[in-house]
């Protein structure tokens, strides 16, 4: 058994290997948005377990065992992600994030049942629609990303996620958990949007707005 975070590393290496053929430490740092040192120490641990081979010039590769486990993890991850996205209607980035957490707690039994449920809904469009309508009627008051809201809404930031480079810029400009935001308007084609924050105006593309999680802010409260 390896730890959750090591599983994530293993899956990521497998994914990068699929996409690019070779894997560098830098790729892993970027795609998991973690510190360089964390990757290095994780690689060492995976190396000790004989799952990862470590080369010079910051390249790594999976061993035969690593490849097997990596591909299993990859499949698991995608199934869970698909389930969240297609059946439960989470956004792509949210499903990705949730899947990263959930996938580690699945035993084979639960995994195969989720897979079955996914297939069931995928092949029954009518049922999927019924489920969607039912969920809509429930009106979940959950933390959503900024791009889901309309001009004229007052919101409060709950979390700033996303790529480190965008996150730091947002933090520098004072977009922090607890900060109030007012959506002023959307540009002519609906993107980018303009928000008011800390007494100034900021424009963001919807892509960037996706990394800001917000909740409705009740003016009376």
């Amino acid at each position: 058994m390896i730890s959750e975070s090591l599983e994530n590393y293993l899956r990521t290496i497998y994914e990068i290997k699929l996409k690019k053929g070779t894997v560098r430490i830098k790729d892993i740092t970027q795609s998991l948005d973690v510190r360089n040192s964390s990757v290095v120490s994780a690689m060492r641990k995976l190396g000790k377990r004989g799952l990862v081979k470590y080369f010079k010039y910051d390249h790594v590769d999976l061993t035969q065992d690593g490849l097997v486990i990596g591909s299993l993890l990859f499949e698991k991850h995608n199934t869970v992600k698909d389930f969240l996205e297609k059946v439960l209607n989470f956004s792509n980035s949210e499903s990705e994030e949730l899947a990263c957490g959930i996938e580690h707690h699945l035993n084979t039994k639960l995994f195969s049942r989720i897979e079955a449920l996914s297939e069931f809904f995928n092949s029954n469009e009518a049922l999927q629609k019924e489920l969607n309508d039912y969920m809509k009627s429930k009106k979940y008051e959950e933390s959503k990303t900024l791009d889901n809201f309309k001009p004229g809404e007052s919101l409060i930031v709950t979390r700033v996620a996303g790529k480190l480079i965008i996150k730091k810029r947002l933090l520098n400009m004072g977009v922090l958990p607890g900060t109030k935001i007012y959506i002023e308007r959307a540009a002519p084609f609906g993107d980018p949007i303009e928000i008011k924050i800390r007494g100034f105006r900021l424009s963001l593309r919807k892509d960037e707005a996706k990394s800001i999680f917000v909740e409705r802010f009740e003016v009376g409260a």
């Binding site: 980018p192 100034f200 424009s203 963001l204």
Partner: protein, 673 residues
């Protein structure tokens, strides 16, 4: 103590807060514009003296904090961290203190010698807000001076403070410790680890610790690169940060930003007072924005403004261009008149066709360039530019560009040279490079005479359609090439758009004139000489060997034309006259028409052209002139903006594209007709 008499003072601040105006206030005309080494970010440097001290003032690009983000921000950050200026004057927008002080706080943490200029103090008064700058300054351990850079208010007291701070060379230090648990402990523990690392003495330990918690990896990597305990230390630090994140239930980057903003929020509240509310400029901005960024009106207004920019640049500019051209013709004639017979023909031709013609081709660009930069300065300093980018971003983003790319591309219909220079308003390297590379395809006004000549001869009754089709072909090629470059040459992530929309402000006329003048001057100085040399070379080709008719079949250019003309046979215009025109057209495209005129001076242009072109080959030819190597002036401007390599690349790839498209047109056309 050794008397130091050459101090380096950096001016830092957020974008759009009046940095350049203050820089001008301080240095007057003692300025030098260059590039930061290795990057294309403009570096402005000036000198001034205060009493017995002489200072070198560096105007840094606008930044929000000391994090590496875009290219110009990295420049500013590295200068502040590594170059150790003797003093940093941070200019802040006092109507937006909290966010502006974030950078100030970071510089204080870095223990720099800091003086803060509280700009736009007049606006603050209008808004009915008082700042207790003494109290606020004491709290932060720095001097604060209220100023209004555009009206030159408070500049003298700012100079006094700069003088005083340089004399005592103090470092800023915050009153009291406002760090709270558990961040406080984590910082202390990391400080303890860093203390023993060689190289850490260069920076304040506490600042280093903060930066490491903020995950600024380059700084930690630099320190660790020399240590043999590299991995152990890194893991230890990671653990400390992980613990901090667990205790605070928040990510480390957020923890740091949060503690700074919480502190600033507190002190801004403590040292500002709202008394009455009179005019609020922000209300004015709100009102203007309901038009300028309106869902329906935003884009039409943007186009109207662009159209006006275009009109002013090229039509008002052209009035002066005409005067200049008349003057040059006059000069040419009078030189010819007064000297002919007295000097050899070679020398006379050199003087008139070469020198005067060469100088002429450089200075005739000037009125357009001046007008363009004049208007761009107005659009930028009034706050409209970012609105334009806002409304156009979606369309341009689909092309792989930024909202602001639209301005240079549109200016390209007028003249490619100022259009390329206008791309400076783009902050991201990728956006800027792609914009520059595709701008030459926007059909500039110099190409119009070629279309008119050919369309009227070969497509009578359809001139309009033929000419419009040129513009569309240019735009289509620009879009396609933009997309190709986006995914091949610059296959990095798209620069995110996180852009401030500053309040609208009345631009200062003085600053606008100065900016337009500086840009025109820098064009004249750097591009002028090279364009001049280029024109001389072409003159030599047309003139030599001595005795032949200027630019005729038997001149060097004529032979060259004959030598290369077979290349163009598959395109339908394998005659030497076309080749010569194209060769000369590389110096300025309108010359293609003039050359044709000279070459067919015996039989007349219409008959001459009809004898060597069919309508199809004529169309293929004008498409080629639209797309092939942009004029010499554009290439030099590209070299100046982004380097020789890209300039040569542009010459090569545009000609290739032109060849392929003209080939397709001629070959497919021949099959159909």
């Amino acid at each position: 103590m050794e008397k130091k008499n050459n101090y380096i003072v950096a001016i830092a601040g957020n974008p759009n807060v009046g940095k350049t105006t203050l820089f001008n206030d301080l240095t007057g005309s003692n300025q030098k514009v260059g590039n930061w080494s290795g990057v294309t970010v403009e570096r402005k440097e000036g000198t001034m003296t205060i009493n017995d001290l002489s200072l070198k003032i560096i105007d840094l690009p606008g930044i929000y904090g000391l994090n590496a983000y875009s290219q110009d921000e990295i420049v500013a950050r590295n200068f502040l961290i590594h170059n150790n200026p003797d003093l940093v004057v941070v200019i802040v927008d006092s109507t937006n203190l909290e966010r502006n002080l974030y950078l100030v706080l970071e510089l204080i943490e870095l223990e720099k010698n800091v003086v803060v200029a509280l700009n736009m103090i007049d606006e603050l008064e209008e808004m009915g807000i008082d700042i207790d700058e003494k109290g606020l300054g004491n709290q932060l351990g720095i001097d604060m001076v209220p100023i209004c850079a555009s009206k030159r208010i408070g500049i003298d007291s700012l100079k006094e403070k700069i003088y005083a701070n340089l004399k005592i060379s103090k470092t800023a230090r915050i009153n009291g410790n406002f760090l709270k648990s558990p961040l406080k402990e984590t910082i202390e523990e990391i400080e303890e680890i860093l203390k023993n690392l060689p190289g850490s003495e260069k920076y304040p330990l506490k600042w280093l610790a903060t930066k490491i918690i903020e995950r600024e990896e380059d700084i930690l990597n630099e320190l660790l690169s020399k240590s043999y305990l590299k991995n152990e230390i890194q893991i230890k630090i990671d653990q400390l940060i992980n613990n901090l994140e667990k205790k605070s239930k928040e990510e480390s980057t957020v923890i740091i930003a949060d503690y700074r903003y919480a502190y600033l929020h507190g002190i801004v509240k403590e040292f500002t007072k709202h008394h009455h509310k009179s005019i609020n400029r922000r209300d004015l901005t709100d009102k203007l924005d309901t038009f300028f960024t309106n869902r329906w009106l935003g884009i039409p207004i943007f186009f109207i403004i662009l159209w006006l920019t275009f009109q002013l640049t090229f039509f008002v500019g052209d009035i002066f261009v005409n005067y200049l051209e008349e003057f040059i013709t006059f000069l040419n004639t009078s030189v010819t008149m007064s000297l002919s017979g007295n000097v050899s023909d070679v020398f006379l031709s050199f003087l008139t066709n070469g020198v005067i013609g060469g100088v002429g081709s450089v200075i005739t660009f000037l009125p357009n360039i001046f007008m363009l930069f004049f208007i761009i300065a107005i659009l930028e300093s009034s706050g409209y530019m970012s609105r334009g980018a806002f409304v156009m971003d979606k369309i341009m983003h689909n092309m792989g560009l930024h909202g602001k790319s639209f301005i240079p591309l549109f200016m390209g219909f007028g003249c490619t040279v100022p259009a390329i220079m206008a791309s400076r308003t783009l902050n991201s390297k990728k956006d800027r490079y792609i914009t520059i590379l595709v701008t030459p395809f926007m059909s500039c006004s110099a190409r119009l005479p070629i279309y008119i000549l050919f369309a009227s001869i070969f497509f009578p009754g359809h001139q309009g359609t033929v000419i419009i089709s040129m513009y569309f072909i240019g735009i289509a090629v620009a879009i396609i090439m933009g997309k190709i470059f986006k995914s091949t040459l610059f296959n990095e992530e798209t620069a995110p758009l996180v852009m401030e929309l500053p309040p609208y402000r009345l631009p200062s006329i003085k600053y606008i004139f100065k900016d337009a003048f500086d840009n025109s001057w820098s064009f004249l100085k750097r591009a002028g000489t090279v364009i001049f040399i280029g024109v001389i070379i072409i003159w030599c080709l047309a003139f030599l060997p001595a005795g032949v008719e200027f630019g005729s079949e038997y001149s060097a250019a004529g032979y060259l034309g004959k030598a290369i003309s077979p290349i163009f046979t598959p395109l339908g215009f394998g005659n030497w006259q076309s080749s010569v025109s194209l060769l000369f057209g590389a110096s300025a495209k309108e010359i293609v028409v003039g050359t044709m005129g000279t070459l067919f001076s015996n039989e007349g242009v219409v008959e001459g052209l009809k004898s060597i072109f069919t309508p199809l080959s004529a169309y293929s030819f004008i498409v080629f002139t639209l797309l092939y190597v942009p004029c010499f002036g554009s290439l030099i401007t590209i070299k100046k903006e982004i380097g020789l390599k890209w300039s040569l690349f542009t010459a090569f790839y545009t000609t290739t594209v032109a060849y392929i498209i003209s080939l397709l047109i001629y070959q497919i056309g021949s099959l159909i007709i």
